[in-house]
């Protein structure tokens, strides 16, 4: 598996791990962790995925 996808999966996984406590019991700590770390981690994960897809399409001459 390409390294970029691995990094995206790790980033998104960490985001999910921060979302769980916030969903189970919302406190300022869990909310703060999710909003300030979880959401950026999701964004990083998605951006890495998008970048890897674009890169792959370019390699195959589609883009």
């Amino acid at each position: 598996m390409p390294t970029l996808i691995e990094a995206a999966l790790i980033s998104t996984g960490l985001g999910f791990m921060l979302a769980v406590p916030c969903i189970v019991e919302t406190t300022p700590i869990t909310m703060c962790l999710f909003f300030f770390l979880g959401v950026p981690l999701f964004s990083v994960g998605f951006l890495l995925y998008a970048y890897s897809v674009i890169k792959d399409l370019r390699v195959h001459g589609i883009l």
Partner: protein, 156 residues
Amino acid sequence: MLLFVLGVAPALVTIATFGLSFQRAEQVRFCADCHTMTPWVDDLHNPQSKSLAATHFSNRWIVSDQCYTCHADYGFLGPIRTKLASMGHVARYYGFMKMPKQIRLYKPFPNANCLHCHGPAQNWRTNPAHVAVMKPLLAHQLSCVTCHQPIHTPKV
């Protein structure tokens, strides 16, 4: 599959968590989670307290989410502005931003926050004390809290 795991699922989780946590963040116990607020919440829960907040709480004039009900600015963007401001409070509390030495409102307490509930009430509209100052009250030239004191009596 990867698109779902890395794109759709995080988006759905984010939307669900936003909705759920913002709704829960309206509860008094959420405000009470920050130790800075302890004196204010203690005053709210104190049945002996004569503060405006405590009487509203103990008499159940506001049934739930008592902090948020008074401190959300009513209007189209009011609740959103309030929630964004409270995210700033959380950031301050955990050290991302500079914490003020004294807690105070950003701006004078808007009458709209009181009138949201009291405004349509007949006993408020016909009260001679209110009738006498109705224009400045509605024009926000005279604050409700000028007469209705004390609002909070925290033991800090």
